[in-house]
Structures are given as structure tokens and as C-alpha cells.
């Protein structure tokens, strides 16, 4: 979870078995009809259906449970198809509209049923961009940022993105049609300690949360830490947590009179 809070994403390589990926390409190629906003998983993905089985894969189900809790609702889903040698990449964007919630977040599941090579235009994402307050494709001017992630992955990979993460489908310069299936989930419970928190005091948690990224400007990178601390406090309920004293220092306004 600390890694997700720092990076804004969680990647699970090849967690979907090959036989399901073969089926997945066919299912996505035929299209997956839209569902009403806010649907329950059990209502729109019947028992035994491809999507339901995808969500029941233990690694996928566990990640979803840890991130948004039990019984999240389906915001919407969409099959993304990038045609061979299409001219343009998507502009860098965050989905939906500007979303500045500091104590809740949606996740977007992205499923890749086939091996994705660099020239197939796998999803571009910018680690650590999820707390930026920008609206949809207003970031389209940014073509490349140092430390960006250009997804190359084996078939059956599932990635979860924080709703605010900057991303975009890259230009497909290959001869192969590329498929990706996205589902956005909304939490239905408070997102506090929904994951295994037995190791909260492990030093690796603090190390993960302290991750900086090459595209951060020096000064704004410090503000990223500030905002990350606030998110971690919201997720853990620990209002004393801090990194390098960033939040504590600027919150210190003693009210006691001197003796």
C-alpha cells in the first residue's frame, strides 16, 4: 500500500493464466457492453462470466479489496483498442474530471491480455503524479517526463491506477492490434486500514513513502511528500505520521502561554 501511495499504481505481472488471456482477446474484440454507473459487481458481471472470473483471480481480488475495500461499485468499464500504425498517442491525462479527494480514491483496473512490447504503444503513466490537481487532458502539453513508465508487460498483466494518475495510450507503431480492458471502481466503505497492516512499523514502509521521482521539480517534490503524508494519515488513521517533519513543522502553532 505504501508503494501505491507513493507511485499511484500497483502492477501485477502475468497474474491472469494463458487460457484466460486467449479468451480475453476474443471477448474484448467482440466488445463488452456498457453497464450503469455505480453497478454492483455481482449484478453486471454474472457468475462464470469472463470479467467475473478475472476479478476472482486471487491476486486481483486481493489487490482490489486492499485498495478500495469490499464490494466496490463499478463506475464504468471500457475496452481500449490501439490500431496498428495509428498516427497519434493519447494526450497525457487524468480520467474523468479534476478529483481532489484527500481521504478517498477510486482505482482503475487495466488488464492486458497479450504481451505488450514497446512499439505496441503500451500505456504511458507518470509515477507519483496522482496527487497533482489538474483537469483531464490539460496536461496534454507534456509529451515526456523523466522517470515515466512506458508499459511493457507479459500477457495477463493487471495494473491498478489511482484515479488521479497521469496516463495515456501511446502510439501503436507495430503491426499488432493492442487490447486493454479498463474498469473503474468506487469504494463503498471508508478506505482506512483495508489491507494487511501488520507491518506498518516496518522501515520499508517509510522508505517506500519517501520515494521521489526524476520528473519532480526540487521544490514541488517536497510538496509531494507533504501531500503523501496527508494521504497516508488518512489511510492509516495515524495523525502523527510524518516524513522528514514536513507536515509537523508547518502545523506547529503552540497555544500555551509561556510560564
Amino acid at each position: 500500500m505504501a508503494r501505491f501511495v507513493a507511485h499511484g499504481s500497483l502492477r501485477l505481472d502475468a497474474v491472469v493464466p494463458p487460457e484466460m488471456n486467449e479468451e480475453g482477446i476474443k471477448v474484448l474484440g467482440e466488445g463488452v457492453p456498457g453497464v450503469p454507473y455505480g453497478s454492483r459487481i455481482t449484478d453486471v458481471y454474472p457468475e462464470g462470466s469472463f470479467v467475473r472470473r478475472l476479478l476472482e483471480i486471487p491476486a486481483v481480488a486481493g489487490a482490489l479489496r486492499s485498495l478500495v475495500g469490499p464490494d466496490p461499485t463499478v463506475d464504468h468499464h471500457f475496452v481500449h483498442i490501439r490500431e496498428p500504425h495509428e498516427g497519434q498517442a493519447q494526450p497525457l491525462h487524468g480520467d474523468a474530471i479534476i478529483d481532489v479527494r484527500t481521504d478517498a480514491f477510486d482505482v482503475q483496473l487495466m488488464y492486458y491480455p497479450q504481451d505488450v512490447t514497446l512499439d505496441m504503444g503500451g500505456t504511458l503513466s507518470v509515477p507519483g503524479s496522482h496527487l497533482r490537481r489538474t483537469n483531464e487532458s490539460d496536461t496534454g502539453r507534456y509529451q515526456n517526463l523523466r522517470g515515466q513508465s512506458r508499459l511493457v508487460c507479459p500477457a495477463g498483466t493487471v495494473v491498478f491506477l489511482h484515479h488521479g494518475l497521469w496516463h495515456g495510450g501511446r502510439r501503436n507503431d507495430s503491426d499488432t492490434v493492442r487490447y486493454m480492458f479498463k474498469i473503474r471502481f468506487n469504494p463503498t466503505v471508508r478506505q482506512r486500514r483495508l489491507w494487511d497492516t501488520s507491518d506498518l512499523a516496518d522501515p520499508r514502509v517509510r522508505r517506500e513513502l519517501s520515494t521521489t521521482f526524476p520528473w519532480y521539480e526540487h521544490a514541488t517534490g517536497r510538496l509531494e511528500m507533504y501531500n503523501r503524508v496527508l494521504l497516508w494519515r488518512a489511510l492509516t488513521g495515524d495523525d502523527t505520521f510524518d516524513l522528514e517533519y514536513w507536515v509537523t513543522r508547518v502545523s506547529n502553532r503552540p497555544q500555551e502561554d509561556a510560564a
Binding site: 498517442a89 504511458l124 496527487l131 515526456n144 515515466q148 512506458r150 520528473w215
Partner: protein, 96 residues
Amino acid sequence: MSTNTSTRQQVLVLYLATSALDSEVVGWSRYDGTARTSPTTGDSDEPPYKSGVHALEDGWRLFQAAQLIPPYPGHEYDVSFLKHEFFFEKVVEVDQ
């Protein structure tokens, strides 16, 4: 024999680590008015220059730099767009 030529603009946008033009490049975009290249989102992991000054040394002309704007009261800790944006151009000749 004379050749008919005209000029086109190539634009380079650099995002730097601080407001100083000689600070490190953290992001970049290119637009090519000659249509000889078609830069797009996510087409490179390596910045074209180490700093803004390195771009000047390679012949790019700076024509716009982001202003330094104080944060709006109450939003001092917000993070949003990249702040240190520099626009460069090269004007190149093309055959008509």
C-alpha cells in the same frame, strides 16, 4: 538555378527542475512545423538536453519562460502543473 525556400518553426518545450535556465531538464515536448518529424506523447525516455542552457548551446532560441507566480492563499501546498516551463524555437528553411 535558384530554389524557392521559406521558413518554418520548430518548437522545443523544456520543463526544468528549478526556475533557473541552467537547471536540469525534467520534462520535454517537441513540435515540428516542417512536418519532417512527428513527435508525440511518450515517444522517448531520454531528455534531448541536460539543461536549458545546453539547448541554447545547440542553437535553440528561448522565446518564453514561465513567470514566477506566488501560490494562491490557502493553496500553498497544492501540487498541479509543472512550474518551470521554457519555450525554445529554431527557424529552419524548407524547400517550397
